[in-house]
Amino acid sequence: MKPVRADGRYRLAVASRALAAIGGGYALAAGWAAAFSLALAQLMPRVEAVLIATMLAWLAYAMAAGWAFYARTAWGAWGGTLLPALVLGACAMAPQWMGITP
C-alpha cells in the first residue's frame, strides 16, 4: 500500500494531466483548425480548407490527449499542449495583428 500523502499528490498530478488533456488538447486542436484553415484557404476553396483542417484537428486532439498522459511530468503535459496551441493561435491571429484585412 502506498502512503496516503503520496497517493493524494499523485492524484492531483493526474487531475492536472487530465485537465491538460481535455483543456490543453482542445486549445491545441482549435488552434490547429484555425491556423490550417486559414493557410489552406489560400490554396483551395474555403470550405475544403476548413473541413480538412477540422478533420485533422480531431486527430491532433487525440494525440495531444495521449501526450498529456505520456509526458514525463504534469508540467510537460501542459507545455506540450499549450505551447503549440499558443503558436498555432498566434499564426491564426497574425494576419489580423499585421492589419491584413480578410
Binding site: 478533420m55 480531431w58 486532439y61 495521449g66
Partner: protein, 615 residues
C-alpha cells in the same frame, strides 16, 4: 480510457512511476466508468435508431391501412419514368392542397414522399418566419390527414442518442449535444491510443477463452467485441464528431470565414451543402414572411425526374429565399447514394424556371458527406441495416463487458483480501466475525455495481416498457408522447432504485437477474400486448407477408428470449464452473436454491459471475 499509454509501461519501474500508474488507473477506471454508462446508453439508442423509421411506423398502428409504396420496376424506361413522375405529382399536389385548406397562411413546407420504409406523406410546415414546424401525416392517395396516436416513436431513440432528449419538446438540446460530444471524443481517444498501444491486437482477434471463466473470459469478451469491429467504432465516433463539428470545433470557420462584419457562418453552411448563400434566409422566429403563393408542382417534378433520369424524389420544399422570392427545392431520395445530403434542384415557384442544383462537390466536402451518410445509414437496404445493427449491438456489448470487467477485477481483489481475513480469524479461533460482513465490498464498488445493473439491465427494461407504453396508454391521453417518455424514465429510475437497494441492503445476484428477467418478460410480451390492443399483430401481418410490421414483433420476441436467457443464467444460487473452482468450500459445492452462499455473495457484489461457457 484504460488503453491510454502509461509512462511506467515504457520505463524501468521506480516507486514513483508505480505510484503514478496506480493513480492513473484510479482516474481512468472512474472516468471510463462514468463515461461507459453514458456511452452504453448512447450506443444502444443509436443502434436502435438504425430502425428509426420502422419504430416510427410500428408505434403508429393507425398507419397500417396505408398502401405500401413500392419502387416501380424498370424506372429507367422513359414511359415508366413519366408514369412515376405523374403519380408523385398527384400525391404531392393532393397533400399540398390539403395543407393549404388547413393553413392558408403557410410560409414554408417540407414534404417527405412515402417510400418502402414509410408509407405516409410526412409534411412539416410553419406559418411563421423561423418558428417550430408542425407535423402532418397524410394518406398518399387522398391527402386525408391520418389521425395517429401522439408518440415520439423511434425519434425518441434517435434524439436521445445525440442530444439526450428527455421530452418531446426538450429544452436542453445544445447542452445534451455537448455532453454526447465529450463522451464521443473520449471514446475516440480511447480507440486511437488503444490501437497504438495494444501490442496484441491481432492475437486478440483470435483469442476467446470462455471456458477459463471469470475475469479472463470477460477480458477476452471485451477484447473480441472491441477489436472485431474496430473500423466501425472508429468510423462511427469520427463521423459523430464531424457531424457536429460546427458546434464542437468552429475555430476553422472563425478564421477562414472572417469578414469585416464578423464570422459569416451562413456562408460556411451554404458552402458545406453546396448551396448559394443567398438561398438561405436568416430570420428571427417572429419575423414577418409573406405566405406562399399557389404553386404548379407537376412541371417541376417532371423536370426533376428527367434531370435525374428516373432517380427517386425524396422530398420537396417550398419557402421564400433571402430576397423574398418563392422557391421550390426538390431533394433526391437519400437512399440513392452513400453521400449525405442528396443533391437538390432549385426552381422558381412562380415561373417554374430551373435555378440551380445544390450539391457538395469538393473532395473534402464529399468525404464529409460520405462520413455523414455512413453514420446515418440512410443508404442501407434491409440487409445492410441489419449488419450495421449487429455492429452496434457488438459495440454496446464491448462497453458493457468493459464495465463488468471493472467489477469482476475489483471483486477478485476484495475476495483475496477476504480470504486472508478469514484465515487470520480462523487461526485465532474467533467465530464472532461473520464472513460476509468481513468481506463486504467497499461502498464505491457496490455503488458502481448498482449503477452497472441500472444501466446495463435497466436500459433494455426501460426501452421495452417504452414500447409497451405505446400500446397501453389510452390514445386520447393529454400530452401522450411525454407520458410514454415518463414510463421510460420512470422505469429506468425504478431500476436504479432496485439496483441501489440490492447493492446497499442485500448483495446478491438477484440484482441482475430480476431486472433482466423483467426486461425479458416485457420484450417477449410485446407481440401479445400488440395482439390485444391493435389490429396490426402477427396474426394479421404474418399471413399478409407484411415484414416491416411482423419483423418488429418477431425481433421483440427474440430480444425478450435473449434477455430471459441471460436472466436465467444469472439466477441466484447458480454458480459458474470457473467460480466454483475458485471457491473450494463447503457451501459452494451444493447448489443451494436460496440466494448465493455467503462467500459468493461477498465476492460478487452485484456482479454477474456468469462464465461464457455452455450452460
Amino acid at each position: 480510457m484504460s488503453a491510454t499509454p502509461s509512462p511506467a509501461a515504457h520505463r524501468p519501474a521506480s516507486t514513483q512511476r508505480e505510484g503514478f500508474r496506480q493513480a492513473m488507473s484510479w482516474l481512468h477506471t472512474w472516468a471510463g466508468l462514468i463515461l461507459g454508462w453514458l456511452l452504453f446508453a448512447i450506443f444502444l439508442t443509436g443502434t436502435l435508431s438504425f430502425f428509426r423509421s420502422e419504430f416510427n411506423l410500428w408505434m403508429r398502428p393507425e398507419m397500417h391501412s396505408l398502401p405500401s409504396a413500392t419502387e416501380t420496376e424498370g424506372a429507367a424506361e422513359p414511359t415508366a419514368q413519366a408514369a412515376q413522375a405523374a403519380r408523385t405529382a398527384q400525391t404531392v399536389q393532393k397533400s399540398v392542397d390539403a395543407l393549404v385548406r388547413r393553413a392558408p397562411e403557410v410560409t414554408q413546407w417540407i414534404l417527405h414522399l412515402p417510400d418502402e420504409r414509410d408509407p405516409a406523406v410526412n409534411l412539416l410546415w410553419r406559418g411563421t418566419g423561423n418558428g417550430r414546424f408542425e407535423t402532418l401525416r397524410m394518406h398518399p392517395q387522398t391527402g386525408e390527414p391520418i389521425e395517429a396516436r401522439q408518440t415520439m416513436g423511434g425519434d425518441f431513440f434517435y434524439r436521445f442518442h445525440f442530444e439526450l432528449r428527455t421530452a418531446q419538446k426538450g429544452r436542453w438540446a445544445i447542452q445534451g449535444r455537448w455532453v454526447v460530444g465529450v463522451a464521443t471524443m473520449l471514446m475516440f481517444v480511447a480507440l486511437i491510443t488503444g490501437v497504438i498501444t495494444h501490442r496484441r491486437i491481432f492475437k486478440d482477434f483470435f483469442t476467446f477463452r470462455p471456458n477459463k471463466g471469470g475475469q479472463r473470459a470477460w477480458m477476452d469478451a471485451h477484447n473480441v467485441t472491441g477489436v472485431l469491429v474496430l473500423p466501425f467504432y472508429l468510423m462511427i465516433t469520427f463521423s459523430g464528431l464531424m457531424i457536429f463539428h460546427t458546434l464542437y470545433m468552429p475555430a476553422g470557420i472563425a478564421t477562414a470565414y472572417k469578414t469585416e462584419k464578423g464570422v459569416d457562418a451562413n456562408a460556411y453552411f451554404a458552402d458545406l451543402q453546396g448551396e448559394k448563400a443567398e438561398s438561405r434566409p436568416r430570420r428571427g422566429p417572429g419575423d414577418p414572411v409573406e405566405p406562399l403563393p399557389a404553386i404548379a408542382l407537376q412541371p417541376l417534378i417532371e423536370a426533376a425526374s428527367t434531370r435525374w433520369q428516373g432517380g427517386r424524389i425524396g422530398s420537396l420544399q417550398a419557402r421564400r429565399d433571402a430576397k423574398g422570392r418563392a422557391v421550390v427545392e426538390i431533394t433526391r431520395h437519400d437512399g440513392d447514394r452513400l453521400q449525405y445530403r442528396p443533391p437538390r434542384l432549385l426552381f422558381d415557384a412562380t415561373t417554374g424556371q430551373w435555378l440551380d442544383q445544390a450539391d457538395a462537390t469538393g473532395p473534402a466536402a464529399r468525404t464529409y458527406g460520405v462520413l455523414y451518410g455512413l453514420h446515418l445509414a440512410r443508404f442501407a437496404d434491409a440487409g445492410m441495416r441489419w449488419v450495421l445493427f449487429g455492429f452496434g449491438v457488438l459495440g454496446s456489448l464491448m462497453i458493457a463487458t468493459g464495465m463488468v470487467l471493472w467489477s469482476v477485477k475489483r471483486s477478485a481483489r476484495s475476495e483475496a483480501k477476504a480470504q486472508a481475513h478469514a484465515q487470520t480469524a480462523a487461526s485465532r479461533e474467533i467465530h464472532a466475525v461473520p464472513l460476509a460482513v468481513a468481506a463486504r465490498a467497499p461502498f464505491g464498488e457496490r455503488l458502481v455495481a448498482a449503477i452497472n445493473i441500472a444501466t446495463l439491465a435497466g436500459l433494455p427494461l426501460a426501452c421495452g416498457v417504452y414500447i409497451a407504453s405505446n400500446r397501453l396508454i389510452p390514445v386520447g391521453t393529454a400530452g401522450r408522447a411525454d407520458v410514454e417518455l415518463a414510463w421510460f424514465f420512470g422505469t429506468w429510475g425504478l431500476a436504479l432504485l432496485w439496483a441501489l437497494a440490492c447493492a446497499l441492503v442485500r448483495e446478491g445476484r438477484a440484482g441482475w437477474s430480476v431486472p433482466l428477467g423483467a426486461a425479458g418478460l416485457v420484450w417477449a410480451a410485446l407481440p401479445g400486448i400488440n395482439a390485444l390492443t391493435t389490429r396490426t399483430h402477427l396474426g394479421v401481418t404474418l399471413p399478409a407477408g407484411e415484414w416491416t410490421w411482423a419483423g418488429m414483433d418477431l425481433s421483440f420476441l427474440a430480444t425478450g428470449l435473449l434477455l430471459g436467457w441471460l436472466s436465467w443464467r444469472l439466477r441466484p444460487g447458480r454458480m459458474s464452473r470457473g467460480k466454483v473452482a475458485a471457491h473450494p468450500g463447503p457451501h459452494t459445492a451444493s447448489p443451494a436454491p436460496r440466494p448465493a452462499p455467503p462467500q459468493a455473495v461477498a465476492a460478487l457484489p452485484g456482479t454477474p459471475g456468469v462464465s461464457t461457457s455452455g450452460a
